[in-house]
């Protein structure tokens, strides 16, 4: 079984400080880490390798320094690493990122693709499912438990108040939650092998079958107007014991009351 784990290098937000004057993040000197959800995805892949046997490839799209995250993944036990990097990919939003990563994935064999649910520096949770869309394969998000049997994968899909058990035929993509597991440590020997013996495959613009209009800043339909922390909403009102007609009337009344309709 070929498993590809997509990882992102992110600043360790636990160590990010705010500039008291400008209120912006001070990124200088902040250590970079593998995004926690992605690391849990990697651990899940390595466990499948331990139990079922698998070839685990890690793939990251990012600047050249993302190599460190890939070396760390190799030191944990991944077999191969691919860095998708090119100035032409810079400024990509989630749509262009997923499009580019999917193009890279098309060049290698895979049965299972694992991504993290979301990255702690952007929190969109969009790239994983968008990669699946690009590849026309099933996607199961928010995986908290994973089992492989033959060509099928069974996943416990976690929601805030419930979970689904979802079964899909591979190839497919799952997005992992950091609650999925406690990722293993690297080994000292694994670190030295990752730097001295393993090679990271570099994939650039010319290696991919993509159009210029679909990658990087040019290929990104998203425009960020502003970023802010959402203020929590007041608790809603729970109205129960209404039949459908009464419920519809109630909602209509409330919407008119707030001048929404």
């Amino acid at each position: 079984m070929n498993i590809v784990v997509c990882i992102k290098q992110v600043p360790n937000t636990n160590e990010v400080k705010l500039d008291p004057k400008t209120g912006t993040l001070i990124r200088e000197g902040v250590p970079s880490i593998i995004n926690p959800d992605d690391k849990a995805g990697l651990e899940a892949a390595l466990r499948l390798k331990d139990t079922n046997g698998a070839h685990v490839t890690v793939l990251s799209m990012g600047p050249p320094q993302a190599e460190t995250a890939l070396r760390e993944a190799l030191a944990m036990g991944a077999d191969d690493a691919i860095l998708v990097t090119d100035r032409a990919f810079g400024g990509a939003d989630t749509w262009a990122t997923a499009h580019t990563i999917a193009a890279a994935l098309k060049t290698i064999p895979y049965d299972l693709i694992i991504t993290g649910r979301q990255a702690i520096d952007g929190d969109t949770a969009q790239v994983g499912p968008q990669i699946a869309e690009n590849l026309h394969i099933p996607n199961i998000s928010y995986a908290e438990e994973i089992k492989v049997e033959g060509d099928y994968i069974t996943v416990k899909r976690q929601f805030e108040d419930r979970y689904h058990i979802v079964k899909a035929k591979m190839p497919c993509l799952i997005t992992a939650l950091s609650e999925l597991n406690e990722p293993r440590y690297m080994t000292p020997g694994g670190i030295f092998d990752a730097y001295r013996e393993k090679k990271i495959k570099i994939v650039t613009r010319k290696d991919l079958d993509v159009k210029d209009g679909d990658i990087g800043l040019k290929g990104s339909p998203t425009r960020v107007i502003k970023t802010f922390t959402k203020s929590p909403k007041a608790a809603g009102t729970l109205v129960s014991n209404l039949d459908p007609q009464e419920a519809a009337d109630y909602m209509l009344e409330k919407l008119q009351e707030k001048f929404i309709i």
Binding site: T68, R71, R184, M186, P188, G189, I191
Partner: protein, 379 residues
């Protein structure tokens, strides 16, 4: 001269720091108070392949370098000196002599087990009447057909009772003095071998320090390490490495105490302001930090010498001497900055000061290091 770590050394350091913080630190106080062996850490060292960090992969080691290994000892000692002692005695003293002096058969038989941690290693030189004067060995080994018969006692043996193999020194020819000492690989199950009383110590409480008893202990001839009469050389060259391990431990203890103290002086208020705002505190911190960094440079230089030079006796002795005295000085001053709280077990600096003292004593006292250093300078 390059003072920067390679990328792999940098990443290994991050790993050791993270591991020490999450896996070792939470148990440090408990291990000290209950005076129990750090079994949990040993299990995890095995699992994550920390048991043969500087040794070749062909023997099950990690294939890293000496400096990386010393950084591991340093990072463990920062949070728990006991745990670092176990790993250092196993790696530097219990495993290295077999790698350096073992026959191909001995290497094939023991190194994979030691480097993967299936076996824990130990080293037995000291005797009741042979401490600093280690040439005054009274344990005897007599060749009898296909085996040696060992009789005698060893004391203060680290990892005793938990180790699977011991590098044991004994006299095979008393008339030759130093040149009559031989080294043996003794397995814990050899007939006539037993572990005696456990010492109650001032510090490194969790480290198992016991007497070893040899009563007509049968050691197969093929377990002679090196040739007959080479024991003293084996002991001394092994101790060169061991001393670098102790230096790493000393630097770690000092760094750990300093980190705890920096945290404390920022929080503790007297006369309406944090201790960190007083110039005495600031100067103490500056002084200690400078000493610790100087000690660390001597340590790293010795680690490099161990790997690249034929002999590292001088570098090891200087590193051990300076790092150990730094650890004692820094931990004492850290306790002082903590005031009354520093004298209680509520704060880890109390334990660190007790643990620091051993680094001035074992694997050659500070006075022995001065003998070694001056001997070369004055010859």
């Amino acid at each position: 001269m390059d003072f920067t770590l390679s990328k792999e050394q940098e990443m290994a350091r991050t790993l050791f720091r993270d591991f020490a913080e999450k896996e070792v630190k939470p148990l440090a106080q408990e291990i000290d108070e209950e005076e129990r062996f750090p079994t949990e850490a040993l299990e995890k060292f095995r699992k994550y392949k920390f048991m043969g960090i500087p040794y070749p992969k062909e023997y099950g080691g990690a294939g890293c370098d000496m400096l990386t290994y010393e950084m591991c000892i340093e990072e463990m000692a920062k949070v728990c000196a006991t745990t670092s002692t176990m790993l250092s005695a196993h790696t530097s003293l219990g495993t290295w002599p077999i790698l350096k002096y073992g026959t191909p058969e001995q290497k094939a038989k023991y190194l994979p087990k030691l480097c993967t941690g299936e076996y824990l290693g130990a080293f037995a030189l000291t005797e009741p009447n042979a401490g600093t004067d280690s040439s005054a060995q009274q344990t005897k080994a007599v060749l009898d057909g296909d085996h040696y018969v060992l009789n005698g006692n060893k004391i203060f043996i680290t990892n005793a009772g938990y180790a699977d193999t011991y590098i044991v020194f004994a006299m095979t020819d008393k008339s030759k003095g130093n040149h009559g000492i031989s080294a043996f690989i003794v397995e814990k199950n050899f007939p006539g071998f037993s572990v005696g009383k456990k010492e109650k110590k001032m510090g490194i409480h969790g480290s198992s320090t016991c007497e070893l008893i040899f009563e007509n202990c049968i050691v197969p001839k093929e377990n002679l390490l090196g040739q007959e009469g080479k024991g003293f050389v084996i002991a001394m060259t092994t101790l060169d490495g061991g001393r670098i391990g102790v230096a790493a431990q000393a630097v770690g203890i000092a760094e750990g105490a300093l980190e705890e103290t920096i945290k404390y002086v920022r929080e503790r208020k007297q006369f309406g302001r944090p201790l960190s705002k007083f110039q005495n505190t600031q100067f103490e911190i500056a002084d200690m930090m400078t000493k610790v960094k100087a000690a660390q440079l001597l340590l790293y230089r010795a680690a490099k010498a161990k790997e690249t030079q034929k002999s590292c006796t001088q570098e090891a002795a200087m590193a051990k001497l300076y790092c150990a005295s730094t650890a004692m000085d820094v931990t004492t001053r850290c306790v002082q900055l903590h005031g009354g709280y520093g004298y209680t077990r509520e704060y880890p600096v109390e334990r660190m000061m007790r643990d620091a003292k051993i680094t001035e004593i074992y694997e050659g006292t500070s006075e022995v290091q001065k003998m070694v250093i001056s001997k070369a300078a004055l010859k």
